[in-house]
């Protein structure tokens, strides 16, 4: 088991034993880079990162030798006629076809590589989306942070951009329909707080075994859709202390299970009541229960949108990293947590890789 922990100051690797009980820390790799997201591509074992530096800009980098050496994608940028410049890279998602990799970026950009990350081209249908003029950047910029491929349909995928909303393509990224019906944008006054576009999605995930079901943690609530994003149901107010938060995790075996880590609200982005609390639902979001055994208290923590993940082992593991530099793991569905790393730089992303 490998956990890839992207931090504000490089990439750390946590190597776990078969029981996921003992962990060994390696790193930092890519020193000097803020690693917004890091994955191991199951197709070839390579490590791939969205790495950013405030001087040298946004990059995609790939390592075929366990992080010893890295190669940047060439010419990553936006066409001059767009009037836009690449700001930062945010999310890496392996594609379906050989060599295909998707890359989310600011400002509201989806890139596609067909050569294993040697080079990327911006997806024109996102760049030219007819609603783009209504998009606004969130606090992290106008980041394309969620990219989800539907395993049941080779032409369907989803992206989410803050603050533009969620989008679905059914034709292989040729065009994108809006997937925001029922999702609030409470930062607009009534009656304009349910616009067709402009929602601030913080994280969107598709359930791999029931791909018509989507979950999103939004600036304005936690939501579930059972119809491919056509409509959304707001879920908090039934055990959650707040609808505000960033990360989201699922259980790949049970579409009714989800985990969130709420924060007080947009104006106070720390965990409520000084408690670093994971909240778990096992009934599709109808009710939520605190799952915090083993987590520190008091703790005014914060977990970034990419900082929460899960594996598909038996029993499935759940993992998250904090802005305070700790990484926590649970292999009993959140019933208990163990701190498996501490005093890292602020953790930006956690992803699990297993064989």
């Amino acid at each position: 088991m490998l956990l890839l922990c992207g931090t504000r100051k490089g990439l750390f690797l946590l190597h776990g034993d078969d029981d996921r009980a003992a962990w060994e820390l390696e790193g930092p790799l890519l020193t000097g880079w803020s690693v917004y997201h890091a994955i191991r591509d199951r197709r070839d074992g390579s490590l791939q990162v969205a790495a950013n530096n405030f001087v040298y800009g946004g990059t995609f980098q790939r390592s075929a030798d366990e992080g010893k050496t890295w190669k940047r994608a060439e010419g990553l940028g936006l066409p001059e006629e767009s009037g836009l410049k690449l700001e930062e890279t945010w999310h890496v998602e392996p594609g379906r076809n050989d060599g295909e990799i998707w890359l989310g970026a600011t400002p509201g950009i989806l890139f596609r590589s067909t050569d294993g990350g040697e080079s990327f081209e911006p997806v024109q249908s996102v760049l030219d989306h007819p609603t783009r003029e209504k998009w606004e950047p969130g606090a992290g910029g106008m980041c394309c942070h969620s990219i989800q491929l539907d395993p049941s349909d080779p032409n369907r995928m989803y992206i989410a951009i803050s603050a533009a909303g969620a989008f679905r393509t059914d034709d292989g990224a040729e065009s994108w329909s809006l997937a925001n019906k029922g999702v609030a944008a409470d930062f607009f006054p009534e009656p304009d707080n349910f616009p067709e576009v402009g929602q601030c999605v913080h994280k969107l995930l598709l359930h791999p075994e029931r791909p018509d079901r989507l979950w999103q943690q939004n600036h304005c609530g936690v939501y579930r859709s059972d119809d491919r994003g056509e409509t959304w149901e707001r879920l908090e107010g039934n055990g959650l202390p707040s609808g505000f938060g960033f990360p989201l995790a699922l259980d790949p075996r049970d579409p009714d299970v989800a985990y969130v880590i709420p924060e007080v609200g947009a104006e106070n982005r720390v965990t409520p009541d000084g408690r670093l609390g994971v909240y778990r639902t096992d009934d599709g979001g109808a009710s939520w229960a605190l799952a915090s055994n083993g987590l520190p208290e008091p703790a005014w923590g914060a977990v970034m949108r990419e900082g929460f993940t899960f594996d598909a082992l038996e029993p499935s593991g759940v993992y998250f990293g904090t802005q305070s530099g700790s990484v926590f793991a649970s292999t009993d569905a959140g019933a208990s947590w163990t701190e498996i790393a501490r005093q890292l730089p602020p953790v930006l992303s956690v992803e699990a890789a297993w064989s």
């Binding site: 000097g32 880079w33 405030f54 001087v55 890295w70 010419g75 940028g77 001059e80 410049k85």
Partner: protein
């Protein structure tokens, strides 16, 4: 030939090489030959705002910027601006 010296982060991105001897007429011509040129210039060809370049100890901004002649220069040093946290 002019010697181009890179800070450690860029040297790591250049395969561990921190010094390059290049034949160049201008600062931009020299920097474009480096394997990290994409990190120094953005997609529109502009030198990134927080990249500082010194030609024999003088800030290239106070000379002719990227067009500063370097045919007779000994050293170009790239330094990241003091910023960040």
């Amino acid at each position: 030939m002019v010697l181009v010296r890179l800070p450690s982060l860029l040297a790591a991105q250049a395969g561990g090489q921190g010094e390059f001897e290049v034949e160049a007429a201008t600062v931009e011509h020299a920097l474009r030959q480096l394997p990290v040129a994409d990190l120094l210039f953005d997609e529109s060809g502009e030198l990134r705002r927080l990249v500082n370049v010194y030609v024999d100890g003088k800030d290239a901004r106070e000379l002719e910027g990227p067009n500063t002649p370097v045919a007779d220069a000994r050293e170009i040093r790239v330094i990241a601006a003091v910023a960040g946290g």
